[in-house]
C-alpha cells in the first residue's frame, strides 16, 4: 500500500534542484568539457530523472529505484573516464550512491590466475566499489570467446548477480571501443539488458580539438603565439588523418611534446634573460618540429 499524499500539495522543483547542487555540476561539465553534446544531453536526462524520482518519492508516488548501470562506448580519448568521474559526483549529489567514489579497474583486477582465484578477487573489487561507482575500462576483454575455459566468464556472472541484486549499493559503468563493445554485448545478452544507459561518445571535430588544446594550455598556464595558433590548427588536421589518432589524448601528448621543445628552445638559447612571457609562450616552431609535419612514413611510428 503506497501512502497517498494530498494531491493539491505543490513541490518546489527549484528548491530541490538548488538543494542537490546538481546544476553546478552540470555547469562545470559544460564549461570544462568541450563537445560531447549527446553525452551531456544524456547526463542531463539522467540527472533530471533522478531528481524527479526523488520528488515523486516525497509526493508519495511509486518510485522504483531506477537502474543506473551504464555503458560508455567510443573511440580512444573521447573522455569516457573523465565523464565516469563526473557521473560518480552527480550520482552522489543526487543521493543515489552513498559515497560517490570511483573505482576504476580493468580485466587484470577482476580475473584470477587459477581456478578459485577469480571469485574472491572480483568480490573484493566489488566490495571496495560499494557505495560508489565501479568503472570497468575495456570491459570487452572480460569475455574471450576463443578460450572457453577463460575465467572472464566467471567475472561476468558475479557482476550480473551484483548488478541485479545490489542496485542501490553500486553503479557499474562499462567502457570500451564501440565495435568491440557491441560484439561483447551481442555475446552477453544478459549484460546488455541489465544496462539501462548505453551512451556513445562521438569523435571530436577539429575545432573542438582546438578548443580542448587551448583549455589544456590554459590550465597549465601556457599560451600560443599567433603563428603557433595557426600551426596547431594545421597540426590537428594532419594528425587526425593519421593512424592511431586518439582524440583528446593525442592532443594532450602533442602539447606535452611542444612543451618539451619549448623548454629545450629556451635552454639552448644559453645566457640572456628570460621574461615571464617567454616562459609561457609556445612558438610555431615548437609545434612545427613535430613528426606529423614530416613525411608520412616517418610519422607512422608516432602514436
Amino acid at each position: 500500500m503506497t501512502p497517498v499524499a494530498p494531491t493539491d500539495d505543490t513541490l518546489d522543483l527549484g528548491a530541490a534542484l538548488a538543494d542537490s547542487h546538481v546544476a553546478e555540476v552540470l555547469a562545470t561539465l559544460d564549461a570544462e568539457l568541450i563537445g560531447l553534446a549527446p553525452v551531456k544531453t544524456r547526463i542531463r536526462e539522467i540527472a533530471a530523472l533522478l531528481l524527479v524520482e526523488k520528488l515523486r518519492m516525497q509526493a508519495g508516488l511509486s518510485a522504483g529505484p531506477p537502474s543506473l548501470h551504464m555503458s560508455f562506448t567510443g573511440n580512444p580519448g573521447t573522455g569516457k573516464t573523465t565523464i565516469a568521474l563526473r557521473m560518480a559526483e552527480i550520482l552522489h549529489l543526487l543521493g543515489y550512491v552513498r559515497k560517490g567514489h570511483l573505482v576504476a579497474v580493468t580485466r587484470d583486477d577482476l580475473v584470477g590466475q587459477f581456478i578459485g582465484h577469480t571469485a574472491p578477487k572480483t568480490k573484493e573489487v566489488l566490495k571496495r566499489a560499494m557505495g560508489g561507482v565501479l568503472f570497468i575500462d575495456e570491459a570487452y576483454f572480460l569475455y574471450r570467446p576463443e578460450n572457453e575455459r577463460d575465467y572472464g566468464q566467471e567475472v561476468i556472472e558475479i557482476l550480473l548477480q551484483v548488478m541485479e541484486n545490489q542496485r542501490d549499493d553500486l553503479v557499474v559503468i562499462l567502457a570500451g571501443y564501440r565495435d568491440r563493445m557491441s560484439r561483447f554485448f551481442a555475446s552477453n545478452p544478459g549484460m546488455s539488458s541489465r544496462i539501462a544507459h548505453h551512451i556513445d561518445f562521438p569523435d571530436y571535430a577539429p575545432d573542438e580539438l582546438h578548443d580542448i588544446a587551448l583549455l589544456m594550455l590554459g590550465q597549465l598556464q601556457y599560451r600560443l603565439s599567433p603563428d603557433a595558433e595557426r600551426a596547431l590548427v594545421e597540426y590537428i588536421e594532419r594528425r587526425r588523418a593519421q593512424p592511431n589518432f586518439a582524440n583528446a589524448r593525442s592532443v594532450r601528448n602533442a602539447l606535452d611534446r611542444a612543451r618539451l621543445r619549448q623548454a629545450n628552445r629556451l635552454f639552448s638559447r644559453g645566457g640572456g634573460s628570460l621574461t615571464r612571457d617567454d616562459l609561457m609562450t609556445i612558438e610555431a616552431e615548437d609545434i612545427r618540429a613535430s613528426r606529423v609535419f614530416k613525411d608520412p612514413a616517418a610519422s607512422e611510428a608516432e602514436r
Binding site: 552513498r98 559515497k99 566489488l126 566490495k127 571496495r128 560499494m130 557505495g131 549499493d169
Partner: protein
C-alpha cells in the same frame, strides 16, 4: 549460558542496523574490518578462523554487510565476530571487536574439579558443546 566478549559484551546483541552504524564508524576512522568465526566457545580460544582476508580500502558498509550475510549463510550456528583493525603507526592492532552471530542454543560450561596431590583442587572450564566434533557442535 550466553557467551559474551569484545567491545559490547555488556549489551544485548546488536541489530543489523546497529551493526551497520558501528561499521560506518569504523570505516570513517579508516579501520579495516575482518570477520572471524568459531564453534569453540572457550574464553581462552582467542584465535578464531578467518572468513576471507581483512577488507582493506572499503568505503561503504554494504561491502561488509554482504560479507556478513555470506558468513551467516555459511555458518548459521557458529559464533561470528567483526574485528576492526587500525593500521595507524603506534596502534597497529584491533581497536574494536564484537560478536555479530551466536548459536541459537548455548549449553554453557561444566566446571571440572581435579583432585591432585595433597588437598589441592584444580579447576577446568569445559564447554558442553566441545564434547562433539568440530563443525557439529551447534546444530
Amino acid at each position: 549460558m550466553r557467551l559474551t566478549q569484545g567491545t559490547f559484551s555488556f549489551l544485548p546483541d546488536l541489530s543489523d542496523d546497529q551493526i551497520r552504524a558501528q561499521i560506518e564508524y569504523c570505516l570513517a576512522q579508516g579501520w579495516a574490518l575482518s570477520i572471524e568465526y568459531t564453534d569453540d566457545p572457550h574464553p581462552r580460544n582467542t584465535y578464531w578462523e578467518m572468513f576471507g582476508p581483512p577488507m582493506f580500502d572499503l568505503r561503504d558498509t554494504a561491502g561488509v554487510m554482504t560479507e556478513l550475510e555470506d558468513v551467516r549463510r555459511t555458518f548459521p550456528g557458529h559464533y561470528i565476530k567483526l574485528n576492526a583493525f587500525d593500521s595507524t603507526r603506534g596502534f597497529e592492532t584491533i581497536r574494536l571487536s564484537f560478536i555479530v552471530n551466536r548459536p541459537r542454543h548455548e549449553p554453557g560450561f561444566r566446571l571440572v574439579r581435579e583432585e591432585s596431590a595433597g588437598r589441592t583442587v584444580r579447576y577446568t572450564v569445559h564447554a558442553y558443546a566441545a564434547d562433539r566434533p568440530e563443525g557439529e557442535r551447534y546444530e
